[in-house]
Amino acid sequence: MMEKVAQPETLEHSEKKMGGWVKRFSTLIGLILICLVLTLTSKYFLSFENFISILLQNANIAILAVGLTLVILLGEIDLSVGGVEALGCVVAAWMMVYGGLGIIPSIIIALVASTLCGLVSGFFVAYFRFHSFVSTLAMMGIARGLALIYTHGASIYGLPDSFRFIGQGSIGPIPVPVLVAAVVLLLAHFLLTQFRLGNHIYAVGGNIEAARLAGINVGRVKLIVLSISGFCSGLAGIIMASRLNSGQGTIGETDLLDAIASVIIGGTSLMGGVGTIPGTILGVLIISVIRNGLNLLGVSSFWQMVAIGVIIICAVLVDEIRRRLQEKER
């Protein structure tokens, strides 16, 4: 019931969901159970406004999770998503306030900058055999450092009024960030299931040697995927700039954790090769609902950290048990 009321993205995707229903079932059941518990314990949970609020608050995480899903499918990781998000936020704001540029050019420049970050990380991973952990860890520091430098640690304010529409406006009952997230999720799903690149991503994640021997340009795939992740991070940052009506260099630290948690809970394996966008959507929903529910119950942030850690363990455990059961059947 809850799904039909307020998750437009999931509705659109149920047509596009292919095989793997059984696998995804357990995550879905988990989500429904959590919602049930929260409905019983907090009278503010089950309402249309609250669901819209949940979607709005986590739209940027959903976008980060898209980039991360692609990266993790390759068997790599991107630790820079939070830092690049902050950089995107700051660059967009800076261009509008000090650069004197219009909204659209500022957005474009911010997206270019963040995609560039992904490109640089990807370059070292693809052609210099850097481990993505190393490359993106470095980029995280660089991006965040730059973001803090340009804001002097404070914030950039005085953004044009019309810019607020992106983060604070709605089309009908649906907030703009949610629509943006929905579009990004859809595009990513399309990419993975209908395009050659998607196939190649799965192949590289599943067996990189086989992919290479099949003639796939593995380096180029890694480069492209990490650039996409940079783009997504920047996009999330731009949305946050509008939501906060300022350029903040400090955002994104918890977002990194939430995004990775979402992807893992959604069934994407850190080994690579296994995972889907619908799964990630479920993962984002679970994280969002937990945070919201705990807030509504007045639980401190510290317990939220614990809760998310526990959910990650449960999700991966369930996955592992299911896998072993499957192997036993054969």
């Binding site: 209908q194 050659r196 799965y202 192949a203 086989a210 021997l213 099949a214 796939i216 296994v274």
Partner: protein, 245 residues
Amino acid sequence: MKNISKTFGAVKALQNVNFEVMPAEVVGLVGDNAAGKSTLMKVLSGAYIADQGEIQMNGKKVHISNPVDSRNLGIEMLYQNFALAGNINIYQNIFLGRELIKDYCLGVFKILNKKEMATRSVDLISRLKIDIHQVNKRVKELSGGQQQSVAIARVIAFNAHLIIMDEPTANLGIKEVGRLLDLIRRLREQGISVIVISHRLDDIFSVGDKVIVLKRGKRVGMRYIKETTEKEVLRLIVGGEEGEA
């Protein structure tokens, strides 16, 4: 292949090896462990690039710097570990790297033509008389034998002139070995050359036209099957001298 040399660090995997194969010929490539058999063939399939030497096809020099070049020349290789990605399905593996696409919006969007790939895969598999029913099953869910069938389907799917098989009979039972050797004979009848790397001389003698022996990275001999015996080849493998053609 002329004067092919390849070194991995301190190891001289291949030293000035010559290798030739005629159209519609089955050649056995034999030798002890670390003789360089797989390495030589991987140079031919584009997985490795030789440090020295050249490759000619029909008298003309060709450059093979990656697997795509090799395939474009009509060379396909069946690797020892199959080189399949277990997390994707059968037809995705068969068409990996050369997926069939259909155009949308006047070629602006090129999306995967899954129906066609599935159909062709089903066709291939039935031609090979393999017992697999759903081509959209993930490869890791298949048995070892079925996985090899998928790999075999892949090498014959693209009109190759030359097929290389690396230890194809290694893990097969008697009946399956027989089926594979039959397949090799059928390929030869269609004018396709096959190079078979194998430890099992009786298999080579069963289908081969000639056999080339490598020892420690060097070629130590070539014999036409009709003119030699297993014992002689064995002797070459174990204690042959270099320089024999």
